[in-house]
Amino acid sequence: MDLRGWLRSKMVLLVLGLLAFACGKKEDGSGPIKIGHFASMTGAQATFGISTDRAIQLAIKERNAKGGVKGRMIEVKTIDDAGKQSEAATAVTRLINDYGAVAILGEVASSLSLAGGPIAQKSKIPMISPSSTNPDVTSIGDYVSRVCFLDDFQGWVVAKFAFENLKAKKAAILYDQAQAYSSALGKFFEQSWKEMGGEITVKAAYTGGNLEISSQLQQLAGSESDVIFLPGYYSDAATIIRKAREQGIKAVFIGGDGWDSEELHKIAGNALDGNYFANHYSPLEDRPEVKNFVEKYRAEYKAEPDGLAALGYDAALLLFDAMDRAKSLAGPDLRDAINSTKNFTGVTGTFSIDAKRNAKKSAVIIEIKDGKQRIAARVEKK
């Protein structure tokens, strides 16, 4: 064998070795357990990703301090999708193929879970969404589950509160037509509202980010509604409420869990007073799990944990619990363990993963008064 032939054979080996290395980061039972997290760490819903990520890091830190899972440490890699659908799909692909994640946590926004979920399903890697509430998310397939309630429930909760507690009769809806979460939640609210005997005055749409909506606001102003349901995300909702108050709209605004961010208060200021939104939990609840979590989170980050943080924490804990029970960390085994979770107690309540891989949960209604949040009502799961 001459030198060139020898070099060539070595090159072939090297390339094969690199290829094997590139694809070979698969779970092999040694080293740290790798979890992937895709989230909007930047962009218009940045606080969603940041809160969730902080809570996941906290959960992992605590678990590793107790010796990890199956005697191995846990490691997480977070990829920022900037709140964009195209980036979300790429992020999941990278987490599975490049990083070698055995499970995926994410996303908050339903549109992004709908973009990333099919990739996890195809790769047979379980994905747990902490807080995507759109019903379609878990119908992607048996590898996708969630730990939050669904929008049909949330729509009903908001309608029930507005109808029974606020004694409202006429409601208007203003939803973001570019978000699966917002348009579906709007529909569920409308359905429940009509069943209860309420009247829908106006149903108007905007496109998230495009807030030159004086025409829509004027329609709302002329509708003489008691309440306006605004199932959008916080950065849009904050501006819309501020502008609506400036236009002289007096109706009470109610929103969903998409409002949950400290940024909502920063942008809308005192225009928020007297409005309500539904959420998964409140840091003000006095259940021991909540108190414990809030204390630890505050000590770690010097910030108040919002609903997204609580759900991120629960998603991580549920995943560890399933890993403990699973025969191995291979996709199908881990999937079966997650899907058979029963009576799991987390920060956001006690729940089971049902046949459709959803969680039945209770909700709280938060009232905003003098810039502060207060629990206005608690609606039990149905």
Binding site: M41, T42, G43, A44, A46, T47, A82, Q177, V202, K203, A204, A205, T207, G209, N210, L211, E212, S214, S215, Q216, Q218, Q219, G222, S235, A238, T239, R242, K243, E246, G248, E263, K266, I267, G269
Partner: protein
């Protein structure tokens, strides 16, 4: 009746906002015959620079009022003018003799550069915020039952004032004559002793200063979005459509186009949804109506509403 008044005011205010931005597109196109895709990013930077200036001067905590707003406006316009001149000097001037496609692609590159540099934590960061405390949107006067608010008045006055100032500049001053000469024929203008580089720099300075004004007004009305957010791109796109509809390269055309686009987006949208109340999709197509108008106008007048007479060009 009050609905009619309200929609009219909203149309005028939004039209003014679009006009400020459309003028930048139309000026640059008039002189250099290329579309400056980075213009919408200068608008976004205008909003964010205003925020930075206002917080540095302490207007965001203590409040400020109209005077503070004017200070912020002038500083921001000056900074954005400098930004525009720098962009032209570094990115476009070396390509002055290159095929136009090269400049166009460079403009897209500059746009992406501005978007992503703006996202750096040391600059503007990745969280939406508000500059409303500088000048809260108070009611100035009430006409019937319709409150007239300070942002609307400010937008309309700024737009009308600046459009008139620009008209005067272009048609009544020596610099304006030089601009028109360069627009007509760059080479012959240079032979006649016009300093083309200075004219182009001035054009970019004016266009970017107007963009800054547009950016601030947009940020006041809608709070600040991230520099890399589609909001700014859409805003720029609509202003660009306004410039094209009016006849790109024409100052009055840009203003008229902006009014037409705002008219469709606010006035037409409001009344059409009211007419078809209960049919949800009619209201959902707001942005579609804007672009339908573009197609209709271009089919009827391919060079835009005011685009025919070349003498009128800047």
């Amino acid at each position: 009746m009050s609905d009619l008044l309200q929609t009219t005011i909203n149309t005028l205010a939004l039209g003014g906002l679009y006009a400020l931005i459309a003028l930048g597109y139309t000026l640059v196109y008039g002189i250099l015959r290329f579309i400056n895709f980075a213009h919408s990013d200068v608008v976004a930077w205008g909003g964010w620079i205003a925020f930075t200036v206002a917080s540095a001067l302490g207007f965001l905590t203590g409040g400020g009022g109209v005077l503070a707003m004017m200070v912020v406006l002038l500083i921001t316009m000056a900074l954005c003018a400098a930004l525009g001149v720098t962009i032209e000097r570094l990115a476009y001037r070396p390509l002055r003799k290159a095929p136009r496609l090269n400049v166009l692609i460079t403009a897209i590159g500059v746009s992406l550069f501005l978007q992503n540099v703006g996202l750096l934590d040391r600059l503007f960061g990745t969280r939406p915020t508000t500059i409303v405390p500088v000048l809260p949107n108070t009611v100035l006067v009430e006409l019937g039952s319709v409150p007239i608010r300070i942002y609307d008045v400010l937008t309309i006055f700024l737009a009308v004032g600046l459009v008139f100032a620009l008209e005067r500049l272009v048609y009544r001053t020596k610099m304006g004559r030089a601009m028109r000469a360069v627009s007509f024929d760059e080479r012959i203008a240079a032979l006649m002793g016009v300093n083309v580089n200075v004219v182009v720099s001035v054009t970019f300075a004016i266009g970017s200063a107007l963009a800054a004004a547009g950016g601030i007004l947009f940020a006041l009305r809608n709070d600040l979005r991230l520099t890399a957010d589609s909001t700014w791109v859409l805003l720029g796109l609509k202003a660009f459509v306004a410039a094209v509809v009016g006849g790109i390269g024409n100052v009055r055309g840009a203003a008229a186009g902006a009014l037409l686009i705002a008219f469709v987006e606010v006035f037409v949208h409001f009344w059409i949804t009211k007419l078809f109340a209960g049919t949800e999709w009619v209201g959902q197509l707001q942005d579609v109506y804007v672009f339908v108008i573009l197609i209709v106008v271009l089919l009827w007048k391919p060079s835009g509403l005011f685009g025919k007479s070349t003498v009128e060009k800047v």
